[in-house]
Protein backbone atom coordinates (compact mmCIF):
# COMPACT_ATOMS: atom_id res chain seq x y z
CA UNK A 1 0.00 0.00 0.00
CA UNK A 2 1.26 3.43 -0.95
CA UNK A 3 0.95 6.03 1.82
CA UNK A 4 -0.10 9.51 0.76
CA UNK A 5 1.95 12.05 2.67
CA UNK A 6 1.89 15.84 3.05
CA UNK A 7 4.87 18.02 3.90
CA UNK A 8 4.23 20.98 6.18
CA UNK A 9 6.93 23.66 5.94
CA UNK A 10 8.76 23.74 2.62
CA UNK A 11 12.09 25.09 3.87
CA UNK A 12 15.67 23.99 3.42
CA UNK A 13 15.41 20.63 5.19
CA UNK A 14 12.23 19.67 3.31
CA UNK A 15 13.76 20.49 -0.08
CA UNK A 16 17.22 19.09 0.61
CA UNK A 17 16.16 15.88 2.32
CA UNK A 18 12.48 15.01 2.61
CA UNK A 19 11.48 15.54 -1.04
CA UNK A 20 14.27 13.36 -2.51
CA UNK A 21 13.80 10.56 0.06
CA UNK A 22 10.03 10.50 -0.45
CA UNK A 23 10.49 10.48 -4.24
CA UNK A 24 12.83 7.51 -3.96
CA UNK A 25 10.60 5.44 -1.65
CA UNK A 26 7.85 3.42 -3.40
CA UNK A 27 5.88 3.21 -0.10
CA UNK A 28 5.11 6.96 -0.22
CA UNK A 29 3.42 9.38 -2.56
CA UNK A 30 3.85 13.12 -1.97
CA UNK A 31 0.24 14.27 -2.09
CA UNK A 32 0.31 17.85 -0.78
CA UNK A 33 2.46 20.73 0.40
CA UNK A 34 1.37 23.04 3.21
CA UNK A 35 3.27 26.31 3.17
CA UNK A 36 2.30 29.95 3.50
CA UNK A 37 4.55 31.06 0.66
CA UNK A 38 6.23 28.21 -1.17
CA UNK A 39 4.65 25.89 -3.74
CA UNK A 40 5.91 22.84 -5.56
CA UNK A 41 5.09 22.35 -9.26
CA UNK A 42 2.55 19.59 -9.79
CA UNK A 43 1.71 19.00 -6.10
CA UNK A 44 -1.54 20.03 -4.39
CA UNK A 45 -0.89 23.17 -2.32
CA UNK A 46 -2.50 24.55 0.85
CA UNK A 47 -1.60 27.66 2.82
CA UNK A 48 -2.81 26.23 6.15
CA UNK A 49 -2.72 22.80 7.71
CA UNK A 50 -6.38 23.00 8.68
CA UNK A 51 -7.36 23.53 5.04
CA UNK A 52 -5.37 20.48 3.98
CA UNK A 53 -6.78 18.30 6.77
CA UNK A 54 -10.32 19.30 5.77
CA UNK A 55 -9.84 18.95 2.00
CA UNK A 56 -7.72 15.81 1.84
CA UNK A 57 -8.96 13.06 4.17
CA UNK A 58 -7.09 10.61 1.92
CA UNK A 59 -3.71 11.93 3.13
CA UNK A 60 -3.01 9.74 6.13
CA UNK A 61 0.44 11.00 7.09
CA UNK A 62 1.89 14.46 7.72
CA UNK A 63 5.61 15.30 7.88
CA UNK A 64 6.24 18.43 9.99
CA UNK A 65 9.33 20.22 8.69
CA UNK A 66 8.63 23.61 10.29
CA UNK A 67 10.83 25.19 12.94
CA UNK A 68 10.32 23.55 16.37
CA UNK A 69 8.56 26.54 17.94
CA UNK A 70 5.28 25.80 16.08
CA UNK A 71 5.52 22.03 15.81
CA UNK A 72 3.24 21.22 18.75
CA UNK A 73 0.15 23.04 17.46
CA UNK A 74 0.50 21.45 14.01
CA UNK A 75 1.13 17.99 15.44
CA UNK A 76 -1.87 18.31 17.74
CA UNK A 77 -4.17 19.35 14.87
CA UNK A 78 -2.97 16.49 12.66
CA UNK A 79 -3.26 13.87 15.42
CA UNK A 80 -6.75 15.04 16.40
CA UNK A 81 -7.68 14.71 12.71
CA UNK A 82 -6.55 11.07 12.87
CA UNK A 83 -3.36 11.47 10.85
CA UNK A 84 0.02 9.88 11.49
CA UNK A 85 2.76 12.43 12.18
CA UNK A 86 6.48 12.57 11.45
CA UNK A 87 8.35 15.24 13.42
CA UNK A 88 11.61 16.73 12.17
CA UNK A 89 14.22 17.12 14.91
CA UNK A 90 14.07 18.50 17.50
CA UNK A 91 10.54 17.12 17.97
CA UNK A 92 9.43 20.18 19.94
CA UNK A 93 10.51 23.25 21.82
CA UNK A 94 9.98 21.54 25.19
CA UNK A 95 10.24 17.99 26.50
CA UNK A 96 6.82 18.08 28.16
CA UNK A 97 5.05 18.90 24.91
CA UNK A 98 6.62 15.93 23.13
CA UNK A 99 5.66 13.60 25.97
CA UNK A 100 2.13 14.95 25.77
CA UNK A 101 1.97 14.50 21.98
CA UNK A 102 3.11 10.91 22.45
CA UNK A 103 0.19 10.28 24.81
CA UNK A 104 -2.20 12.09 22.47
CA UNK A 105 -1.11 9.95 19.50
CA UNK A 106 -1.61 6.79 21.53
CA UNK A 107 -5.09 7.97 22.52
CA UNK A 108 -6.02 8.65 18.90
CA UNK A 109 -4.51 5.39 17.63
CA UNK A 110 -2.08 7.05 15.22
CA UNK A 111 1.67 6.73 14.72
CA UNK A 112 3.96 9.49 16.02
CA UNK A 113 7.56 9.33 14.81
CA UNK A 114 10.04 11.75 16.39
CA UNK A 115 12.89 11.50 13.92
CA UNK A 116 16.60 11.82 14.69
CA UNK A 117 18.18 11.75 11.26
CA UNK A 118 21.76 11.29 12.48
CA UNK A 119 20.83 7.91 13.91
CA UNK A 120 20.47 6.69 10.32
CA UNK A 121 24.04 7.59 9.37
CA UNK A 122 25.53 4.33 8.23
CA UNK A 123 28.22 3.99 10.86
CA UNK A 124 25.79 4.29 13.76
CA UNK A 125 24.29 0.78 13.90
CA UNK A 126 27.69 -0.95 13.47
CA UNK A 127 29.08 1.30 16.23
CA UNK A 128 26.20 0.39 18.52
CA UNK A 129 26.69 -3.30 17.84
CA UNK A 130 30.45 -3.11 18.42
CA UNK A 131 30.07 -1.20 21.71
CA UNK A 132 27.39 -3.48 23.13
CA UNK A 133 29.83 -5.88 24.82
CA UNK A 134 32.74 -3.48 25.48
CA UNK A 135 33.65 -1.66 28.69
CA UNK A 136 33.60 2.04 27.88
CA UNK A 137 36.28 4.21 29.47
CA UNK A 138 35.37 7.65 28.09
CA UNK A 139 33.57 9.38 25.26
CA UNK A 140 34.51 12.65 23.56
CA UNK A 141 32.15 14.51 21.23
CA UNK A 142 33.45 17.35 19.04
CA UNK A 143 30.75 18.92 16.88
CA UNK A 144 32.02 22.11 15.28
CA UNK A 145 30.51 23.65 12.20
CA UNK A 146 29.98 26.98 10.48
CA UNK A 147 26.49 28.31 11.20
CA UNK A 148 26.71 30.68 8.23
CA UNK A 149 27.14 27.75 5.88
CA UNK A 150 24.46 25.43 7.28
CA UNK A 151 21.78 27.84 8.50
CA UNK A 152 21.85 30.81 6.13
CA UNK A 153 19.11 33.30 6.96
CA UNK A 154 17.45 30.98 9.49
CA UNK A 155 16.67 33.56 12.16
CA UNK A 156 14.50 31.10 14.11
CA UNK A 157 17.59 29.26 15.37
CA UNK A 158 18.52 32.37 17.36
CA UNK A 159 15.04 32.86 18.79
CA UNK A 160 13.97 31.22 22.07
CA UNK A 161 13.09 27.61 21.27
CA UNK A 162 15.42 27.60 18.25
CA UNK A 163 18.09 25.93 20.42
CA UNK A 164 21.10 27.66 18.84
CA UNK A 165 24.12 25.35 18.64
CA UNK A 166 22.06 22.60 20.24
CA UNK A 167 20.27 22.30 16.89
CA UNK A 168 23.32 20.50 15.41
CA UNK A 169 24.56 19.36 18.83
CA UNK A 170 21.42 17.35 19.46
CA UNK A 171 22.36 15.28 16.39
CA UNK A 172 25.46 14.14 18.26
CA UNK A 173 23.41 13.46 21.39
CA UNK A 174 20.89 11.44 19.38
CA UNK A 175 23.77 9.22 18.20
CA UNK A 176 25.30 9.09 21.70
CA UNK A 177 22.09 7.97 23.39
CA UNK A 178 21.61 5.34 20.67
CA UNK A 179 25.07 3.75 20.63
CA UNK A 180 25.81 3.69 24.38
CA UNK A 181 24.44 0.74 26.32
CA UNK A 182 23.57 2.83 29.43
CA UNK A 183 22.02 6.28 30.05
CA UNK A 184 24.16 9.40 30.48
CA UNK A 185 23.39 12.32 32.79
CA UNK A 186 24.46 15.95 32.53
CA UNK A 187 26.78 17.02 35.36
CA UNK A 188 27.74 20.47 34.14
CA UNK A 189 27.58 22.83 31.18
CA UNK A 190 28.74 26.22 29.98
CA UNK A 191 26.60 27.88 27.33
CA UNK A 192 28.09 30.74 25.31
CA UNK A 193 25.34 33.11 24.18
CA UNK A 194 26.17 36.02 21.82
CA UNK A 195 25.22 39.31 23.43
CA UNK A 196 22.80 40.08 20.59
CA UNK A 197 21.16 36.63 20.50
CA UNK A 198 18.91 34.44 22.65
CA UNK A 199 20.40 31.01 22.07
CA UNK A 200 23.95 29.62 22.47
CA UNK A 201 26.55 29.74 19.72
CA UNK A 202 28.73 27.26 21.61
CA UNK A 203 28.36 24.86 24.52
CA UNK A 204 30.59 22.57 26.53
CA UNK A 205 28.81 19.83 28.43
CA UNK A 206 30.05 17.27 30.93
CA UNK A 207 28.16 14.04 31.40
CA UNK A 208 28.56 10.91 33.45
CA UNK A 209 27.24 7.57 32.28
CA UNK A 210 25.40 5.66 34.98
CA UNK A 211 28.03 2.96 34.50
CA UNK A 212 30.66 5.48 35.63
CA UNK A 213 32.60 6.76 32.62
CA UNK A 214 32.62 10.39 31.54
CA UNK A 215 31.39 11.97 28.34
CA UNK A 216 32.39 15.44 27.15
CA UNK A 217 30.72 17.41 24.38
CA UNK A 218 32.15 20.44 22.60
CA UNK A 219 29.58 22.13 20.36
CA UNK A 220 30.63 25.19 18.40
CA UNK A 221 29.03 27.07 15.53
CA UNK A 222 32.02 29.29 14.78
CA UNK A 223 34.19 26.82 12.92
CA UNK A 224 35.23 27.91 9.46
CA UNK A 225 37.21 25.68 7.08
CA UNK A 226 36.93 21.92 7.58
CA UNK A 227 33.91 20.89 9.64
CA UNK A 228 34.06 18.44 12.54
CA UNK A 229 31.35 15.99 13.59
CA UNK A 230 33.26 13.38 15.60
CA UNK A 231 32.44 10.98 18.41
CA UNK A 232 35.39 9.10 19.91
CA UNK A 233 34.87 6.21 22.33
CA UNK A 234 37.72 4.71 24.35
CA UNK A 235 37.04 1.15 25.43
CA UNK A 236 38.86 -1.78 27.01
CA UNK A 237 39.01 -3.31 23.53
CA UNK A 238 40.24 -0.33 21.55
CA UNK A 239 39.26 3.03 20.15
CA UNK A 240 36.04 3.58 18.20
CA UNK A 241 35.77 6.71 16.06
CA UNK A 242 32.61 7.88 14.36
CA UNK A 243 33.29 10.85 12.13
CA UNK A 244 31.56 12.81 9.38
CA UNK A 245 28.42 12.87 11.53
CA UNK A 246 28.31 9.08 11.75
CA UNK A 247 29.08 8.17 8.14
CA UNK A 248 32.67 7.07 8.77
CA UNK A 249 33.52 4.37 11.32
CA UNK A 250 37.07 3.54 12.40
CA UNK A 251 38.20 1.06 15.01
CA UNK A 252 41.79 1.44 16.23
CA UNK A 253 42.47 3.63 13.22
CA UNK A 254 41.21 1.08 10.67
CA UNK A 255 38.33 2.32 8.54
CA UNK A 256 35.41 -0.10 8.80
CA UNK A 257 32.97 1.87 6.72
CA UNK A 258 32.79 5.19 4.87
CA UNK A 259 29.35 5.55 3.40
CA UNK A 260 27.31 8.08 1.49
CA UNK A 261 24.65 10.04 3.34
CA UNK A 262 21.40 8.07 3.25
CA UNK A 263 19.99 9.31 6.57
CA UNK A 264 16.58 10.45 5.31
CA UNK A 265 16.14 7.31 3.21
CA UNK A 266 16.53 5.49 6.53
CA UNK A 267 13.95 7.73 8.17
CA UNK A 268 11.31 7.01 5.51
CA UNK A 269 12.07 3.27 5.53
CA UNK A 270 11.50 3.31 9.31
CA UNK A 271 8.31 5.37 8.91
CA UNK A 272 6.95 2.77 6.50
CA UNK A 273 7.73 0.04 9.04
CA UNK A 274 6.02 1.99 11.85
CA UNK A 275 2.90 2.58 9.73
CA UNK A 276 2.81 -1.12 8.87
CA UNK A 277 3.05 -2.18 12.51
CA UNK A 278 0.92 0.63 13.94
CA UNK A 279 3.66 1.63 16.38
CA UNK A 280 5.11 4.98 17.44
CA UNK A 281 8.76 5.88 17.99
CA UNK A 282 9.25 8.85 20.32
CA UNK A 283 12.59 8.90 22.11
CA UNK A 284 13.10 12.12 24.07
CA UNK A 285 16.44 11.16 25.67
CA UNK A 286 18.58 13.61 23.70
CA UNK A 287 16.08 16.48 24.01
CA UNK A 288 16.01 15.84 27.76
CA UNK A 289 19.80 16.13 27.90
CA UNK A 290 19.61 19.53 26.18
CA UNK A 291 16.92 20.74 28.59
CA UNK A 292 18.97 19.47 31.53
CA UNK A 293 22.10 21.21 30.18
CA UNK A 294 20.13 24.46 29.92
CA UNK A 295 18.82 24.09 33.49
CA UNK A 296 22.20 23.13 34.93
CA UNK A 297 24.38 25.24 32.66
CA UNK A 298 26.22 28.46 33.37
CA UNK A 299 25.54 31.21 30.82
CA UNK A 300 28.52 33.06 29.44
CA UNK A 301 27.83 36.11 27.28
CA UNK A 302 30.17 36.30 24.27
CA UNK A 303 30.63 38.73 21.40
CA UNK A 304 27.72 39.55 19.14
CA UNK A 305 27.08 37.29 16.19
CA UNK A 306 26.37 39.11 12.92
CA UNK A 307 25.44 36.81 10.07
Amino acid sequence: MVHKIAIVGLGKIARDQHLPSIAKNPDFELAAIVSRNAELEGVDHFTTLDDMLAARPDIETVALCTPPQVRRQYAEAAIRAGRHVLLEKPPGATVAEVEWLKNLAAKHGVTLFATWHSRYAQGVEPARAWLADKTIKSVEIVWREDVRRWHPGQDWIWEPGGMGVFDPGINALSILTHILPAPVLVTGAVLEVPENRQTPIAAKIDFVAVTGHTVTADFDWRQEGPQTWDITVKTDAGLLELSGGGSVLRIDGQTQLAADDTEYDGIYAHLAALLASGESDVDIASLQLVADACMLGAISKVEAFIE
Copy 2:
Protein backbone atom coordinates in the same frame (compact mmCIF):
# COMPACT_ATOMS: atom_id res chain seq x y z
CA MET B 1 6.85 -0.55 63.33
CA VAL B 2 9.13 2.41 63.96
CA HIS B 3 11.36 3.31 61.02
CA LYS B 4 14.92 4.36 61.81
CA ILE B 5 15.88 7.29 59.65
CA ALA B 6 19.08 9.21 58.97
CA ILE B 7 19.29 12.83 57.82
CA VAL B 8 22.02 13.68 55.34
CA GLY B 9 22.86 17.39 55.25
CA LEU B 10 22.10 19.25 58.47
CA GLY B 11 21.39 22.66 56.97
CA LYS B 12 18.56 25.14 57.37
CA ILE B 13 15.80 23.00 55.89
CA ALA B 14 16.76 19.95 57.97
CA ARG B 15 16.80 21.94 61.21
CA ASP B 16 13.73 24.06 60.50
CA GLN B 17 11.50 21.33 59.10
CA HIS B 18 12.73 17.74 59.05
CA LEU B 19 13.88 17.45 62.65
CA PRO B 20 10.62 18.78 64.18
CA SER B 21 8.39 16.69 61.89
CA ILE B 22 10.39 13.51 62.55
CA ALA B 23 10.31 14.19 66.28
CA LYS B 24 6.52 14.55 66.16
CA ASN B 25 5.86 11.41 64.11
CA PRO B 26 5.71 8.15 66.11
CA ASP B 27 6.45 6.13 62.94
CA PHE B 28 10.01 7.48 62.79
CA GLU B 29 13.08 7.51 65.00
CA LEU B 30 15.96 9.83 64.10
CA ALA B 31 18.89 7.40 64.28
CA ALA B 32 21.80 9.26 62.67
CA ILE B 33 23.02 12.51 61.17
CA VAL B 34 25.44 12.59 58.25
CA SER B 35 27.18 15.94 57.94
CA ARG B 36 30.73 17.02 57.33
CA ASN B 37 30.62 19.72 59.99
CA ALA B 38 27.40 19.77 61.96
CA GLU B 39 26.41 17.42 64.80
CA LEU B 40 23.26 16.99 66.80
CA GLU B 41 23.42 16.33 70.54
CA GLY B 42 22.48 12.75 71.38
CA VAL B 43 22.28 11.44 67.81
CA ASP B 44 24.79 9.12 66.17
CA HIS B 45 27.00 11.18 63.82
CA PHE B 46 28.88 10.31 60.63
CA THR B 47 30.93 12.57 58.38
CA THR B 48 30.23 10.54 55.25
CA LEU B 49 27.20 8.67 53.95
CA ASP B 50 29.30 5.61 53.11
CA ASP B 51 30.43 5.35 56.74
CA MET B 52 26.83 5.50 57.95
CA LEU B 53 25.63 2.93 55.41
CA ALA B 54 28.41 0.55 56.47
CA ALA B 55 28.03 1.06 60.23
CA ARG B 56 24.27 1.20 60.55
CA PRO B 57 22.50 -1.48 58.49
CA ASP B 58 19.54 -1.04 60.86
CA ILE B 59 18.78 2.42 59.41
CA GLU B 60 16.42 1.62 56.59
CA THR B 61 15.60 5.12 55.38
CA VAL B 62 17.71 8.12 54.42
CA ALA B 63 16.42 11.70 54.05
CA LEU B 64 18.62 13.72 51.68
CA CYS B 65 18.54 17.38 52.70
CA THR B 66 21.70 18.46 50.87
CA PRO B 67 21.74 20.97 48.00
CA PRO B 68 20.46 19.40 44.75
CA GLN B 69 23.84 19.37 43.01
CA VAL B 70 25.07 16.37 45.06
CA ARG B 71 21.77 14.58 45.60
CA ARG B 72 22.18 12.00 42.85
CA GLN B 73 25.42 10.47 44.11
CA TYR B 74 24.06 10.19 47.65
CA ALA B 75 20.75 8.77 46.49
CA GLU B 76 22.51 6.23 44.29
CA ALA B 77 24.74 5.06 47.15
CA ALA B 78 21.80 4.71 49.54
CA ILE B 79 19.60 2.88 47.02
CA ARG B 80 22.42 0.48 46.09
CA ALA B 81 22.80 -0.20 49.83
CA GLY B 82 19.14 -1.20 49.90
CA ARG B 83 17.85 1.87 51.74
CA HIS B 84 14.67 3.84 51.11
CA VAL B 85 15.34 7.43 50.12
CA LEU B 86 13.49 10.71 50.68
CA LEU B 87 14.66 13.56 48.43
CA GLU B 88 14.22 17.20 49.41
CA LYS B 89 13.02 19.38 46.55
CA PRO B 90 14.15 19.80 43.87
CA PRO B 91 14.86 16.06 43.66
CA GLY B 92 17.95 16.57 41.53
CA ALA B 93 19.88 18.98 39.36
CA THR B 94 18.59 17.36 36.16
CA VAL B 95 15.39 15.60 35.12
CA ALA B 96 17.22 12.64 33.60
CA GLU B 97 18.99 11.82 36.85
CA VAL B 98 15.71 11.71 38.78
CA GLU B 99 14.15 9.44 36.16
CA TRP B 100 17.19 7.21 36.41
CA LEU B 101 17.06 7.12 40.23
CA LYS B 102 13.39 6.14 39.98
CA ASN B 103 14.33 3.16 37.80
CA LEU B 104 17.23 2.29 40.10
CA ALA B 105 14.98 2.29 43.17
CA ALA B 106 12.49 0.03 41.41
CA LYS B 107 15.30 -2.35 40.48
CA HIS B 108 16.53 -2.49 44.08
CA GLY B 109 13.04 -2.84 45.52
CA VAL B 110 13.24 0.27 47.71
CA THR B 111 11.00 3.31 48.07
CA LEU B 112 12.04 6.60 46.47
CA PHE B 113 10.04 9.65 47.54
CA ALA B 114 10.68 12.90 45.67
CA THR B 115 9.04 15.37 48.04
CA TRP B 116 7.28 18.59 47.07
CA HIS B 117 6.53 20.16 50.45
CA SER B 118 4.18 22.84 49.11
CA ARG B 119 1.76 20.14 47.99
CA TYR B 120 1.09 19.46 51.69
CA ALA B 121 -0.02 23.03 52.39
CA GLN B 122 -3.52 22.63 53.73
CA GLY B 123 -5.37 24.52 51.01
CA VAL B 124 -3.93 22.40 48.21
CA GLU B 125 -6.10 19.26 48.40
CA PRO B 126 -9.35 21.23 48.83
CA ALA B 127 -8.32 23.39 45.85
CA ARG B 128 -7.66 20.31 43.74
CA ALA B 129 -11.01 18.81 44.70
CA TRP B 130 -12.89 22.05 43.95
CA LEU B 131 -11.21 22.48 40.55
CA ALA B 132 -11.75 18.90 39.41
CA ASP B 133 -15.16 19.56 37.81
CA LYS B 134 -14.72 23.23 36.85
CA THR B 135 -13.81 24.71 33.48
CA ILE B 136 -10.64 26.71 33.99
CA LYS B 137 -10.30 30.00 32.13
CA SER B 138 -6.87 31.18 33.27
CA VAL B 139 -4.29 30.79 36.05
CA GLU B 140 -1.98 33.46 37.43
CA ILE B 141 0.95 32.63 39.71
CA VAL B 142 2.74 35.41 41.62
CA TRP B 143 5.61 34.13 43.75
CA ARG B 144 7.68 37.02 45.05
CA GLU B 145 9.93 36.79 48.08
CA ASP B 146 13.08 38.24 49.55
CA VAL B 147 16.04 35.97 48.86
CA ARG B 148 18.06 37.62 51.64
CA ARG B 149 15.47 36.61 54.20
CA TRP B 150 14.88 33.01 53.08
CA HIS B 151 18.29 31.93 51.78
CA PRO B 152 20.87 33.75 53.91
CA GLY B 153 24.40 32.68 52.97
CA GLN B 154 23.21 29.86 50.72
CA ASP B 155 25.69 30.36 47.91
CA TRP B 156 24.69 27.09 46.26
CA ILE B 157 21.43 28.61 45.02
CA TRP B 158 23.48 30.92 42.76
CA GLU B 159 25.69 28.13 41.44
CA PRO B 160 24.74 26.12 38.33
CA GLY B 161 22.20 23.52 39.45
CA GLY B 162 21.08 25.69 42.36
CA MET B 163 18.16 26.91 40.23
CA GLY B 164 18.05 30.48 41.54
CA VAL B 165 14.50 31.82 41.80
CA PHE B 166 13.22 28.49 40.50
CA ASP B 167 14.05 27.10 43.93
CA PRO B 168 10.98 28.81 45.42
CA GLY B 169 9.20 29.01 42.05
CA ILE B 170 9.16 25.23 41.72
CA ASN B 171 7.04 25.15 44.88
CA ALA B 172 4.34 27.02 42.98
CA LEU B 173 4.73 24.69 40.01
CA SER B 174 4.47 21.65 42.27
CA ILE B 175 1.11 22.98 43.48
CA LEU B 176 0.01 23.94 39.96
CA THR B 177 0.73 20.51 38.50
CA HIS B 178 -1.12 18.92 41.42
CA ILE B 179 -4.31 20.98 41.44
CA LEU B 180 -4.92 21.29 37.68
CA PRO B 181 -6.75 18.40 36.04
CA ALA B 182 -4.65 18.56 32.82
CA PRO B 183 -0.95 19.03 31.99
CA VAL B 184 0.52 22.45 31.23
CA LEU B 185 3.29 23.18 28.72
CA VAL B 186 5.80 26.03 28.66
CA THR B 187 5.32 28.34 25.66
CA GLY B 188 7.79 31.09 26.56
CA ALA B 189 9.98 32.42 29.34
CA VAL B 190 12.27 35.29 30.23
CA LEU B 191 14.95 34.58 32.83
CA GLU B 192 16.64 37.51 34.57
CA VAL B 193 20.16 36.54 35.62
CA PRO B 194 22.28 38.97 37.71
CA GLU B 195 25.48 39.79 35.87
CA ASN B 196 27.56 38.38 38.75
CA ARG B 197 25.53 35.15 39.18
CA GLN B 198 24.79 31.94 37.30
CA THR B 199 21.10 31.43 38.08
CA PRO B 200 18.02 33.66 37.64
CA ILE B 201 16.84 36.13 40.28
CA ALA B 202 13.52 36.51 38.49
CA ALA B 203 11.57 34.69 35.79
CA LYS B 204 8.36 35.19 33.87
CA ILE B 205 6.91 32.09 32.26
CA ASP B 206 3.97 31.58 29.92
CA PHE B 207 2.25 28.23 29.77
CA VAL B 208 -0.69 26.74 27.96
CA ALA B 209 -2.77 23.94 29.44
CA VAL B 210 -3.50 21.17 26.97
CA THR B 211 -7.17 22.02 27.57
CA GLY B 212 -6.48 25.47 26.11
CA HIS B 213 -6.32 28.01 28.95
CA THR B 214 -3.22 30.05 29.73
CA VAL B 215 -1.09 30.09 32.87
CA THR B 216 1.35 32.88 33.74
CA ALA B 217 4.03 32.72 36.40
CA ASP B 218 5.88 35.69 37.89
CA PHE B 219 8.78 34.59 40.10
CA ASP B 220 10.89 37.25 41.78
CA TRP B 221 13.47 37.12 44.56
CA ARG B 222 13.76 40.89 45.00
CA GLN B 223 10.58 41.55 46.97
CA GLU B 224 11.11 43.26 50.29
CA GLY B 225 8.29 43.89 52.76
CA PRO B 226 5.23 41.63 52.53
CA GLN B 227 5.89 38.38 50.68
CA THR B 228 3.60 37.00 47.99
CA TRP B 229 2.94 33.35 47.24
CA ASP B 230 -0.37 33.41 45.37
CA ILE B 231 -2.06 31.23 42.78
CA THR B 232 -5.30 32.60 41.31
CA VAL B 233 -7.54 30.44 39.15
CA LYS B 234 -10.44 31.88 37.13
CA THR B 235 -13.13 29.32 36.37
CA ASP B 236 -16.64 29.19 34.94
CA ALA B 237 -17.87 28.78 38.52
CA GLY B 238 -15.92 31.54 40.22
CA LEU B 239 -12.51 32.61 41.39
CA LEU B 240 -10.22 30.34 43.41
CA GLU B 241 -7.34 31.95 45.31
CA LEU B 242 -4.59 30.02 47.05
CA SER B 243 -2.35 32.35 49.02
CA GLY B 244 0.33 32.13 51.67
CA GLY B 245 1.98 29.35 49.65
CA GLY B 246 -1.17 27.25 49.75
CA SER B 247 -2.18 27.68 53.37
CA VAL B 248 -5.07 30.07 52.68
CA LEU B 249 -7.90 29.15 50.32
CA ARG B 250 -10.55 31.61 49.16
CA ILE B 251 -13.37 31.08 46.70
CA ASP B 252 -15.05 34.21 45.32
CA GLY B 253 -13.43 36.15 48.13
CA GLN B 254 -14.79 33.92 50.90
CA THR B 255 -12.12 32.32 53.05
CA GLN B 256 -12.60 28.55 53.08
CA LEU B 257 -9.52 27.70 55.11
CA ALA B 258 -6.55 29.47 56.70
CA ALA B 259 -4.34 26.87 58.27
CA ASP B 260 -1.02 26.61 60.07
CA ASP B 261 1.99 25.29 58.19
CA THR B 262 2.08 21.52 58.59
CA GLU B 263 3.72 20.74 55.25
CA TYR B 264 6.55 18.59 56.55
CA ASP B 265 4.25 16.69 58.88
CA GLY B 266 2.35 15.80 55.72
CA ILE B 267 5.56 14.69 54.02
CA TYR B 268 6.47 12.29 56.83
CA ALA B 269 2.93 10.93 57.07
CA HIS B 270 3.08 10.18 53.34
CA LEU B 271 6.55 8.63 53.70
CA ALA B 272 5.20 6.27 56.37
CA ALA B 273 2.36 5.28 54.01
CA LEU B 274 4.80 4.67 51.15
CA LEU B 275 7.05 2.51 53.34
CA ALA B 276 4.02 0.53 54.48
CA SER B 277 2.84 -0.12 50.92
CA GLY B 278 6.28 -0.53 49.36
CA GLU B 279 5.54 2.14 46.74
CA SER B 280 7.55 5.04 45.36
CA ASP B 281 6.34 8.58 44.60
CA VAL B 282 8.48 10.38 42.02
CA ASP B 283 6.66 13.08 40.08
CA ILE B 284 9.01 15.08 37.86
CA ALA B 285 6.34 17.26 36.20
CA SER B 286 7.34 20.53 37.89
CA LEU B 287 11.09 19.91 37.45
CA GLN B 288 10.43 19.22 33.77
CA LEU B 289 8.63 22.56 33.46
CA VAL B 290 11.67 24.35 34.91
CA ALA B 291 14.04 22.53 32.53
CA ASP B 292 11.73 23.37 29.62
CA ALA B 293 11.58 27.03 30.70
CA CYS B 294 15.39 27.11 30.79
CA MET B 295 15.63 25.53 27.32
CA LEU B 296 12.97 27.76 25.81
CA GLY B 297 13.67 30.89 27.82
CA ALA B 298 15.37 34.10 26.77
CA ILE B 299 18.15 35.19 29.13
CA SER B 300 18.20 38.80 30.24
CA LYS B 301 21.23 40.00 32.20
CA VAL B 302 20.26 42.29 35.09
CA GLU B 303 22.18 44.20 37.74
CA ALA B 304 24.54 42.34 40.03
CA PHE B 305 23.10 40.82 43.20
CA ILE B 306 25.14 41.45 46.33
CA GLU B 307 23.84 39.67 49.40
